[in-house]
């Protein structure tokens, strides 16, 4: 991958970097020169990776350990970033949870928990970070939704509802924040090759793979590269959009 410093000097906060797509987003951001606050839940779990990533890319990848639904801690994380760099240029709301439950088998407690993580916590971060971005009258917020948030999927009623909400949040927030030159966009990944999809995907996997025009699963890098575009100045006149990263999926 060609590196061109598209995020050079930008202060970025990425949630859910413990693995999978979030990890790749943080790595690619660092490769592009971003200073990355990498969010993860488990204390100490990404220290070694963050150090290596910082050295390799001659930038700073700073681990920040927090549960995005612990709103007091989230506030402290934002305060830490302000105290260290005075600004936040890019927020990627990537952390989330997924479940696979068919209608009739949906545990309401799971549904409520998923709404808290995938929706309420995202709104909270947008509210906090947009106020920081408003100081410099610029910023980019990227919300990771899902193709199932647009199209729905069997066994993913609850998950698709939360990701549909992320898309609605993106569009409304974009309208409210546009006068402050803060952009809000969403990336809707299709089937991405992560541990999560291998552990959770149902028996219709082959059928679903056949529904991808490009004939392969997406890679986390595919999502990360879309994030770079939306986080960089290349997309400075783009807001309120949902970018499908799905290999021309017809699901």
């Amino acid at each position: 991958m060609e590196v061109s410093g598209l995020l050079s000097g930008k202060i970025c906060l990425v949630t859910g970097t413990g693995r999978g797509i979030g990890r790749l987003i943080a790595e690619r951001f660092a490769e592009e020169g971003g200073i990355v606050y990498a969010g993860a839940r488990k204390e100490g779990s990404i220290d070694e990776w963050a150090h290596d990533c910082s050295v390799k890319n001659n930038t700073e990848v700073i681990p920040v350990y927090f549960d995005i639904t612990d709103y007091e801690i989230v506030k402290k994380v934002i305060q830490k970033i302000i105290s260290e760099y005075r600004s936040i240029d890019v927020l990627v709301n990537n952390a989330g949870v997924v479940s696979h439950e068919l209608l009739g088998m949906i545990r309401l407690d799971n549904l409520r928990g998923m709404i808290e993580v995938n929706v309420v916590a995202v709104v909270n971060l947008i509210q906090l970070v947009s106020r920081v971005m408003a100081r410099k009258k610029r910023g980019s917020i990227i919300n990771i939704s899902s193709i199932v948030g647009i199209r729905g999927a069997k066994g993913q009623l609850a998950y698709s509802a939360t990701k549909g909400a992320v898309i609605s949040i993106t569009k409304s927030a974009a309208k409210e924040l546009a006068p402050g030159n803060i952009r809000v966009n969403s990336i809707a990944p299709g089937m991405i090759d992560t541990d999560m999809i291998h552990s959770k995907t149902d028996s219709n996997f082959k059928d679903r793979l056949a529904g991808i025009g490009m004939g392969r699963l997406g890679r986390p890098e595919d999502v990360a590269n879309a994030c770079i575009f939306l986080g960089s100045d290349l997309s400075e006149y783009i807001s309120g959009q949902v970018l499908g990263v799905d290999g021309c999926s017809v699901l």
Binding site: I82, L128, R135, E176, P179, G180
Partner: protein
């Protein structure tokens, strides 16, 4: 600059109004203090006084006078 001056200055530069107009200022009393203006005001207050204001206090921050009471909670005496 005193806290009072800083407080006034945040209002004046956020809403582009004169300091002598501040005393009776409240949310929606001028067109510029709408929801977006409110976010910009809170953001500017946070930057000026190096604080982060809680959601409940953001809702309560409904006027120039009320704002002074709220900032007291953050040890900012106006």
């Amino acid at each position: 600059m005193s806290n009072q001056d800083k407080y006034n200055d945040v209002f004046a530069r956020t809403f582009l109004i004169n300091i002598d107009e501040l005393n009776n200022l409240s949310y929606h009393s001028v067109t510029v203090w709408d929801s977006i203006g409110h976010m910009l005001l809170i953001s500017a207050m946070e930057e000026e006084f190096d604080i982060m204001i809680d959601s409940e206090d953001i809702f309560e921050f409904s006027s120039y006078k009320k704002g002074k009471e709220i900032l007291k909670k953050y040890s900012i005496e106006i």
